[in-house]
Symmetry: C2
DNA sequence: TCTATTTATTCGGTCGCCTGACGAATCAAT
DNA sequence: ATTGATTCGTCAGGCGACCGAATAAATAGA
């Protein structure tokens, strides 16, 4: 099924560089491709001919208006393959479909099946299938699938090892089951890591080699991008900053169980602190506390400030450890501009040197966009 | 001066892989090299002939005892080039000389010139020159030099930006001055980063892709090795964990100045804590406090325990952030087995998952060994 | 001495790339 | 409409690097 016998190393390199050029300067002629890649015109023609026969590229017209002979323009063909990005959140399931050039063809979401586990996987398969068919893409055309999930993902096996928010996900062989249901290779990756990669691909962290992505929502987590690479850690547990010894005694029972920092700034932690401070027990979401703080409730304001202070301490910890160029704040709480401002203000007093801070621009789409970007890279790597 | 016109990409790759094989399986025949690298015997002969003409390899004998024709054995020639590793500590200056194969030919050390700055650079030049001449190596043969220094080293310019321990180093163009004095390209790198690379090359962290090296001596610092790469950070300030918000109020004046954690577990911090607790003011070194603790001084023991506790908190922070496979404890305090034990015991209660802990095996040689390893890699990269 | 075995070289043959020459297609000016 | 300048794409020749097969050389063991 693959290309003819096998191309030599050097041809492989040429193909790859032509492909990259094609990816970034979409409608482009052979002559320009030759200039951009540094290859000769003939080599260019050979590679493009091969691509065309393979169905990877197709003609889209000709140049006009310039002096000299017109050139045929090429672009990556949708026939080249499709990928699927999936964000499996505790409350919402999002699926997106893109072609080999990274053009997002469609996106759909539903509330996550609350029964979790196998039901969620079935739901993913159904939604993915529908998305593909609605876009005239036969599911067999999908060549790579990436799933964003909460929890610690083993970087070697792809097993999900700690996913408290979705019941019964840890015991399933997700890669195998989902791969069988959908008929394509599946990769599983932590949702925060993928949100980070999403921001790097199409969000607020483009063209930066050292990024820290601090997500604060129902839980707290961190994505690290260092030397232009994602940091997974030996067990996939890098960025589990819920366990940072910040905001209390790290040896206390609750702190050891769910993590010291998480116990304070996780959604339940914030609500608990508000109630312990004497706030009304009818409040049961962080959003409400923020609203009350804005409405003048000084108790709520204090809770918000303390949350920002602890978040800033966590950020300072990360900055001191890996020295990123950019800190991105994300998650339903972290991405709030008012909250980010508070964090930035505390951080100014803490950090030995100032670091640029931005809030996520992709919001809750970051995960699925990141999943697409990884699926695309896998597709590209496989093609060469 | 470089090799003939220029080898093509594919030849370059072949040369490199032959070189690597030569590096690891020292005396080896062409036939075996061909098997190891997967290249054909003829290509092998071409590459080896070129290497021999270039002076990179030389014959060292023939095989014997086996059936069949004897094979000529080759190894990397010392003529291929030499490198220098230098560890400029606040109190001790160490220099080591190695050949292109990584064989350490000589090592020498002296107390650092306490006048610092330009005097220290002169001292380096003198000691390096002597070391080279004593080993019948003309200084011009030295093709790469790496200097380990405390402080933050700008990863782009090589400028030393914060070096409180050696006076007047920050204002000097060390790369330029030292390069001129010694006549070879100089690279500057943080001493803890190099100690980490030393342990990875020839110490206790070999063949591990994710390592954290926590150094506790006169100061506290961290070296990070992630995905098989050193983490420098955007400004070279990765691993500056003296500024972690651990062990006190991070907004306090002293903490902001020299770092919150450093203020507590740095050498002066430990001594200060002992005195504040009522210990004798005649004590002025950490070593003495450890000795007193062992002799039964409960005040000293408490100070040691608290130091270990804070160090464990820092370690837990790093582990939660980057999830290393291995934690190496180094530095004059950190490498003490008794201290490392205490840290490990606290860490067991803190960490969500256990991490292997080792103490540095290279001790105070780690920096210079790491400098050699980087200098060697530079030499190899330049040669191809 | 002879044979099996292993090492190294020589001799084509292939692949990928480049350069230079040339035909094809276009715009602009006469 | 013709001519010239310009650009696109192909063709042919040559080079560098690789491999496989055949061959020469050297050695251990029978």
């Amino acid at each position: 099924m693959s290309s003819p016998p096998m191309a030599s190393v050097t041809r492989q390199l040429s193909r790859r560089s032509v492909f990259e050029a094609l990816l970034h300067r979409s409608p482009i002629s052979r002559a320009d491709l030759a200039k951009v890649t540094g290859l000769s015109k003939q080599t260019m023609s050979e590679v493009i001919d091969a691509f065309e026969q393979q169905g990877l590229v197709h003609q889209v017209g000709r140049t006009s208006g310039n002096v000299g002979r017109t050139a045929v323009l090429y672009e990556l063909s949708p026939e080249g393959g499709h990928v699927l990005g999936i964000d499996l959140g505790a409350r919402r399931l999002t699926v997106a479909l893109a072609d080999i050039a990274g053009r997002v063809l469609a996106e759909a979401d539903e509330p996550t099946d609350s029964r979790g586990g196998a039901w969620a996987l079935d739901q993913i398969a159904r939604l993915s299938d529908r998305l593909a068919r609605d876009n005239h893409t036969h599911p067999s055309r999908i060549r790579s699938i990436v799933l964003a999930t909460p929890g610690v993902v083993n970087p070697r096996s792809g097993a999900i090892e700690m996913a408290p928010n979705i019941t019964g996900l840890g015991h399933l062989n997700v890669v195998g089951l989902l791969g069988e249901k959908l008929g394509s290779p599946v990769t599983v990756e932590n949702d925060i890591n993928l949100a980070l990669l999403g921001e790097i691909w199409h969000g607020c962290a483009q063209n930066v080699a050292n990024v820290a992505f601090l997500a604060l929502g129902s839980g707290v987590g961190l994505g690290l991008y260092v030397n232009g690479q994602l940091v997974r850690g030996e067990n996939g547990a890098a960025g589990e900053i819920g366990y940072l010894p910040i905001g209390g005694d790290p040896l206390q029972a609750e702190a050891r169980l769910q993590g010291c920092l998480e116990y304070q700034v996780g959604a339940t932690g914030v609500v608990r602190r508000y109630r312990e401070a004497g706030g009304g027990s009818e409040v049961d979401s962080v959003r409400q506390i923020f609203e009350r703080a804005q409405a003048g409730d000084s108790l709520a304001a204090d809770v918000v400030d303390e949350t920002a202070r602890l978040t800033a301490l966590a950020a300072a910890t990360v900055i001191a450890t890996v020295d990123p160029q950019l800190l991105v704040l994300g998650g339903s709480v972290g991405a709030r501009p008012d909250f980010a401002d508070k964090v930035a203000r505390v951080l100014l007093q803490l950090a030995s040197r100032p670091v640029e801070i931005r809030t996520s621009t992709l919001g809750n789409r970051a995960g699925v966009v990141g999943a697409l970007s990884v699926a695309l890279r896998r597709l590209h790597d496989d093609a060469f």
